[in-house]
Subunit: 128 residues, 2 copies
DNA sequence: CCGTATCCTAAGTGATACTG
DNA sequence: CAGTATCACTTAGGATACGG
């Protein structure tokens, strides 16, 4: 298990990463997906989560640990090694996240098109 | 259709309203649910959405209209009347929201318990 | 390698008051 | 009735630098 992650799996700027939902904060759902394949080290998570700073990743993981979504295991080695893993509770989010991604695949283009049409309409900046 | 809404249906402070997901901003999912039963007037929405201010409700509805989730119909009457209604696209969110609420019903207690246990643990404020 | 410590800004939200 | 106009505030999130 735990095959290498695509280091560019998530790019929050890229619309294809757009999710209609947010679970917890901005990164939580992505972290869950990153941990789907098994336990990961801190720096293994930083790659796929394009642009996340260590501070924010720590924050996110701490909050998830607090909520019982992940476990944190620190090995007393040098250099240090810390691994994160989904709990059973954390894994229950996977189906919900999958549903959300399915919604995006099915309907996000329509939403974006509606937005584009609205923004380019003369009425959008006028009389209300 | 359009039976009267429970004026206390949603209280963002109440944990039973807690959602594991957010769709758009803080209120969007609740607005979708409020409109599930049919078209509603502006002030009809303010009751169930406990504590929402008119400014924020307007913001939310405008954003949803822009994204093609609701339609806004203004009748030229006095006193003014404006009705909001879900579009087909907006209705596609209902199943996703239902899935989210089901997750809450099934797993939110466990999450909250994990949080409580973590917060009351002596380790939570100590050595990291 | 795995974080912390500071500092900072932008967005979201709300309170209050006012208007066509 | 259905909004707007201000003002104020909190917090998530990020940039950067440093530490065990």
């Amino acid at each position: 298990m735990a095959e290498p992650l695509d280091p560019e799996m998530f790019d929050p700027v890229c619309p294809s990463s757009a999710m209609p939902i947010q679970i917890g904060d901005r990164w939580t759902a992505m972290v869950v997906l990153c941990l789907e394949g098994g336990r990961r080290r801190f720096n293994e998570l930083r790659g796929p989560l394009r642009g996340i700073t260590p501070k924010v990743l720590t924050q996110t993981l701490r909050a998830m640990e607090r909520d019982g979504l992940v476990t944190r295991t620190a090995y007393d080695e040098n250099p240090p090694r810390v691994e994160y893993e989904l709990t059973d509770l954390g894994r229950t989010l996977l189906t919900l996240i999958a549903a959300a991604r399915a919604w995006s695949a099915d309907h996000l283009p329509a939403l974006l098109e509606a937005r584009r049409a609205h923004d380019s309409s003369p009425r959008s900046s006028l009389s209300r």
